[in-house]
C-alpha cells in the first residue's frame, strides 16, 4: 500500500510521482509544490520518471501560512 500525505491511497506500485499529482487533481507544473518519497526530495524534473515502489510513503507539500 502506497501512502500519500499519511493517507492510504489507490496508487499502485509502478505508478510515477507525476501520476500521483494527477490523481490529486494537480497539474504537473503546479507552482509551489514539492514532493518527498520515503524521506527524500524528488526534484521536479524527476516527477514523470520516478516510479513508486510498494509501501512507498509520498508527501506532497505546498506553502501554508506560517511565521
Amino acid at each position: 500500500m502506497i501512502a500519500v500525505n499519511g493517507q492510504s491511497s489507490d496508487v499502485r506500485a509502478g505508478e510515477t510521482v507525476a501520476g500521483v499529482l494527477v490523481r490529486l487533481g494537480l497539474r504537473a507544473d503546479t507552482a509551489g509544490v514539492a514532493v518527498a518519497v520515503d524521506g527524500e526530495v524528488v526534484p521536479r524534473g524527476e516527477w514523470p520518471s520516478f516510479v513508486l515502489a510498494e509501501d512507498a510513503r509520498v508527501e506532497v507539500l505546498t506553502a501554508m501560512q506560517g511565521g
Binding site: A31, L61, Q65, G67
Partner: protein, 281 residues
C-alpha cells in the same frame, strides 16, 4: 526651478525613502526593514491588506501537506496571493525538531519555491517553542555547505550568534521572547551584545507584542524586525501593520541619529546665561 522645489521635499518628509537606507541580506537589498510572518491571518484578503499596509518585501511561509480539496473549492493558493503582492518568499522550517528534518524541509522548500533562502527553525521545547541550539547549529552548517542562504531563528545568546556567523549564516534572528507570546524583548542587554558580537544583519524574530517593542529592537541596533502574531492576531491587523511599519522606521531613525546618554540627574536644556535678576523674593 522645478529642481529646487523637489530637493526641498525631503525636509518636509523625514522618513527615509525606499532605497535610501536599505536592509541588505546576502547581497540583496530591501527597502523595508519589516519582515512579515504570514501565520495567523484569518483570510488571504486580510493578509494581502496587511502586506500592503506594512510595506514589507519579505514574508515567511511554512511547508505543509497540500489540501487538493481546498484548492478545488477555490480557496486559492497562498503562493498566488504572495506573488500577486509582489513580495519575496522566505520559507521556514517551522515544526522541525531535528537538524535532519529541518535540512530536508529546507530542501523541499527550495524545490517548491525556487529559492535557496531559508528561515531555519529547529524547535527544542513544546511549551516555549525555544530553539534547540545544538541541532540548529548542525542544520545551519549543513545548509550553508549545500548553498543555502540561512537565516537562523535563535535564542538571544551572543556566543551562539558568533558560532552561527562562523558557519556562514547570512543573518542572525534572535528572539525577544517566545514565539507568539507578545512579551516583547525580555533581555535587551543580550540583543545589544549580539549587535556587538556579529557583523551580520540582525533581525529580531519573535516576541514582538506591539509597536514600541519593534522600535526598541531597532534602537538596540537590530537591522530589521520580523513580526507575525503581533500583526495577524491584533484586533485590527491592518492598522497594526501600519503601526509596525512606522515603529521600525522610527527606531531605525533613532538608532542612526544617536540617542543622548542616560544620566542620573537633570541636565538643563536652557542656559542660565542672561538670566534676569528679578530681585529678592
Amino acid at each position: 526651478m522645478t529642481d529646487a522645489i523637489e530637493t526641498r521635499t525631503p525636509d518636509r518628509n523625514p522618513m527615509p525613502a525606499a532605497g535610501e537606507d536599505p536592509l541588505t541580506i546576502a547581497g540583496r537589498a530591501f527597502g523595508s526593514r519589516l519582515l512579515l510572518g504570514t501565520g495567523g491571518f484569518t483570510s488571504h484578503q486580510l493578509l494581502e491588506d496587511a502586506i500592503e499596509a506594512s510595506a514589507t518585501e519579505l514574508v515567511t511561509v511554512a511547508l505543509r501537506r497540500i489540501d487538493p480539496a481546498g484548492l478545488r473549492a477555490g480557496r486559492g493558493s497562498l503562493i498566488d496571493v504572495l506573488s500577486g503582492a509582489g513580495v519575496e518568499i522566505l520559507p521556514n522550517t517551522a515544526g522541525c525538531h531535528t537538524a535532519r528534518d529541518a535540512v530536508l524541509t529546507a530542501k523541499l522548500a527550495r524545490e517548491a519555491f525556487a529559492t535557496d533562502w531559508v528561515k531555519l527553525e529547529v524547535i527544542g521545547d513544546e511549551d516555549t517553542l525555544l530553539p534547540d541550539s545544538p541541532e540548529l547549529l548542525l542544520a545551519a552548517e549543513q545548509l550553508v555547505d549545500d548553498g543555502f542562504v540561512v537565516l537562523p531563528y535563535m535564542t538571544d545568546d551572543p556566543v551562539l550568534a558568533r558560532r552561527l556567523a562562523d558557519v556562514g549564516c547570512a543573518a542572525v534572528m534572535p528572539l525577544g521572547s517566545p514565539i507568539g507570546s507578545g512579551m516583547g524583548i525580555r533581555n535587551p542587554y543580550n540583543i545589544a551584545l549580539i549587535r556587538e558580537a556579529v557583523d551580520l544583519p540582525l533581525v529580531l524574530d519573535a516576541g514582538i507584542g506591539t509597536a514600541s517593542d519593534a522600535a526598541l529592537a531597532m534602537e538596540l541596533g537590530c537591522d530589521a524586525v520580523l513580526a507575525a502574531s503581533a500583526i495577524s492576531r491584533a484586533q485590527d491587523p491592518v492598522r497594526m501593520a501600519r503601526a509596525m511599519r512606522a515603529a521600525v522606521q522610527a527606531g531605525r531613525l533613532a538608532r542612526t541619529a544617536g540617542r543622548i546618554p542616560r544620566r542620573h540627574y537633570a541636565t538643563p536644556s536652557t542656559t542660565m546665561d542672561g538670566m534676569a535678576d528679578l530681585g529678592p523674593a
